[in-house]
Amino acid sequence: MIKRLDHLTTLIILVIAAIYTVNALQFPGSAKVVPAIFGGLALVLAVIQLVAPRIAALKALGGELVIDDERDLDVFRDPLAQRRLLLISASLIAIPLLIAIFGLPIALPVYVAGLLLIQRQRFSVVMACTALISAMSYGLLVQLLAWPWDDGALWWLFA
């Protein structure tokens, strides 16, 4: 399965490089030169990576994926690892939403507390970690960077 996903990723890189190069050619004057070179090279390399395993002369370039650590494959075989990957990915995607609702300084402790509670960690651990991140958030963001603590939609509603 990972080999199929690898091919798919190379194809995606190829398509992105093609779109990138076509866009580059539309920039005025010298602004197009460097992106066109980078995009063109990426396009050629992506094609080589796709065909290299089938052509003996290109095999030395190592287009084929070699997994040297079996643990890397856990996410494809172990349902528990898949659930954990899904959980951490969903939590990361939720961060912008939390920031929009609570504002960045409060979203960070809420994120940590939420992710720990979902995993049913001990209450003392949840409290300790949330307190640590709250202190960091207040010290770094609110005090040092003068970030408003109430820049989320929730506080605008109350205001």
Binding site: T9, Y20, P28, G39, L41, L92, I93, L104, V112
Partner: protein, 388 residues
Amino acid sequence: MGVLALTLLIPFVRVILMAVGSAEMFALSLLGVLAIGVLTTESVTRGLLSGLIGLMLSTIGSDPITGTLRYTAGSIYLYDGLSITGVTLGLFAIAEMIRVFAGGKPIAAAAVGQDTNIMSGIREGMRDCAKNLRTILNGGIIGSVVGFLPGMGGTVAMFLSYGHAKQRSKHPERFGKGAVEGIIAAEAANNAKEGGGLVPTLAFGIPGGSTMAVFIGVLYIIGLPPGPELMNENLHMVYYMGWSLALAGILGSIIGLGLAPQVARLAKMPSEILAPLLIAFSIAGAVVDTRIVFGVYVAIAAGFLGYWLQLLKYSCAGITLGYLLGPVVERKMFISINAYGLDFFTRPLTLAILAMIVFLVARPYFQRRRKRRNAGAVEPPSQQGDAP
């Protein structure tokens, strides 16, 4: 090593800096990006693609020559390009936390339950350093040379030294899994680059990196403008700075040794607790340089990208270096074309550096041929049943 480089190079600094022009800087930057990509992965195409992905990402924002907006999709947040902190934190910290969390084991799973004895740890660290003197020396030389070149920065020095150590190691497969040579190589280069960076900073007022740029500001404030005057009239001050740097390195090591056991405990924390904490720290770090929430989105996107590409054996170091050196490559290329025309490729030093890039790409062919030849030489006895 950096301080030694500073002391030894000062008499020759003018000659060396005159030899390294914009054309050579262009070729060196390109070599840096592509070398790291290739040296940190098993596959040449993946390594080169990693460098190119970084270079492509670096073109987002306004063009450094004409100011034309490129790939911004009309968003004002992209006018200055992607946040460097966001990209770096995402590719390394967040991507690693996704991997560790999905794996369900602490970072140092093998060490859980073992006692962290500070004295034995210090002794072991010293023994490792003594065993890897050659790696330290090579890292020091790479750090000094890279630090000497304006605009290359410490990250470049560390990755180049790491890649070099991996290439020379008898066990390259251990790199990326806590190989001590990798840590020693990167740190040796990181420490040495400050001394190397002081050479162009003090001699010509050309900063070797962002820290050196701030340092030049400080020199002006205290009435010691860098340049030939400083070198001629206040040479003793230059040596003071060198010795201060050496002393700072020793003090830093003492403080680091004191804090090491506490930091080591972090690596034994369960991933379920460590990941949310480090992600929160990384997210806070992602807004420090730009002070806009957009940096958070960049870090999260880079985190997913880094996790996925690392799983497929692309080089995150190559992407980062490509991203950092992209603007240098572009700027130096245009300066070179304006100064020398397209003939800049034929300058001897530039040609030599470009030949190194070609060698780097062609190297697997030669290695494969050699392997096949060796296998051919070994095969017959085993076929005849001579193997024990």
